[in-house]
């Protein structure tokens, strides 16, 4: 088989050291994703059982938001969905990367890296949007 000279002579390896780092990363990532799943479950329970009491309290203390309770619930649901999806990607990264290293399986390892890439992508978009909203809110507050 002829060698492709565009490719480097020595490829990078997931050696013992890198493997240990990825395994420990996956251990912490799994812990974080499980904590997030539990937090999501608690938030959903609160939303289901206390949504009416919360909207009543909002209308009482901030009457200007009287008609907007549905909007706040919708925002909360979207937030929960984003957190759930990112936690799911983190969980996939954790389990697949660990499996890929232990089984020496390139395809499973790559699936784990794909989950990590998607996790960083969604997290990046969310942090950028948060920063933009923070700057807008700060500028409008200073203007008052």
């Amino acid at each position: 088989m002829e060698r492709n000279f565009d490719e480097p002579l020595f490829d990078l390896q997931v050696d013992r050291e890198a493997g240990n780092h990825f395994r420990e990363s996956s251990k912490w990532a799994k812990f974080l994703s499980v904590v997030s799943f539990i937090a999501i479950a608690i938030v959903l329970l609160v939303l289901i059982f206390a949504a009416t009491a919360m909207t009543r309290a909002l209308e009482e203390f901030r009457p200007e938001f009287a008609g907007a309770s549905g909007f706040f619930v919708a925002v909360a649901i979207v937030g929960v969905l984003i957190v759930f999806f990112t936690s799911y990607l983190l969980f996939r990264f954790a389990t697949l990367t660990k499996q890929g290293i232990e089984r020496q399986d390139q395809i499973i390892f790559n699936k784990g890296l794909l989950a990590l890439k998607n996790y960083f992508m969604i997290y990046g978009v969310v942090t950028m949007l948060t920063l933009i909203l923070t700057i807008i809110s700060a500028v409008t507050n200073f203007g008052k």
Binding site: V14, H21, R103, G124, L131
Partner: protein
């Protein structure tokens, strides 16, 4: 699909073209997150300082919130520093084919997740402690 690792060599398989592409994209997004994190920390400190100094005539009353925002900013910056190191080490290692840099990048990803994990454990412990004090307080008063 098993790769070209010998059975005795437990830890060693290659980073193929697909892995390289995924790691490269992960590094790009990680770098964006880190930079946005640094900017967010700066903006947060700036808005706290301006808000507190504008509202409080007494400068000593503003010290608490400003210190709090500085501590949060310091945590955010150090956390994102590990993410930035992961991103730059991984992208450099992919272009230089430097195994040591690749391992250093993987180590920084490990520290990043460990850092968040420890912060979550501290936060949960404080939350549980606060809940315990609250329950004890209501129990004693009731």
């Amino acid at each position: 699909m098993n790769t070209n690792a010998s059975p005795g060599d437990f830890f060693s398989f290659g980073i193929d073209a697909h892995s390289r592409e995924l790691l490269k994209n992960s590094a790009i997004w990680a770098k964006i997150i880190a930079v946005v994190g640094f900017i967010s920390a700066g903006v947060s400190v700036l808005t706290t300082v301006i808000n507190k100094l504008a509202v409080n005539a007494n400068i000593f009353a503003a010290i608490g919130p400003i210190t709090g925002s500085l501590i949060i900013a310091a945590i955010t910056v150090s956390l994102n520093l590990f993410l930035l190191r992961f991103a730059s080490n991984i992208s450099d290692s992919l272009s230089n084919m430097n195994q040591q840099q690749f391992n250093s990048g993987a180590s920084n990803l490990r520290i990043y997740f460990k850092f968040i994990g420890i912060l979550v454990i501290i936060f949960l412990s404080l939350f549980l402690l606060a809940m315990l004090f609250f329950i004890m307080g209501t129990g004693l008063s009731g």
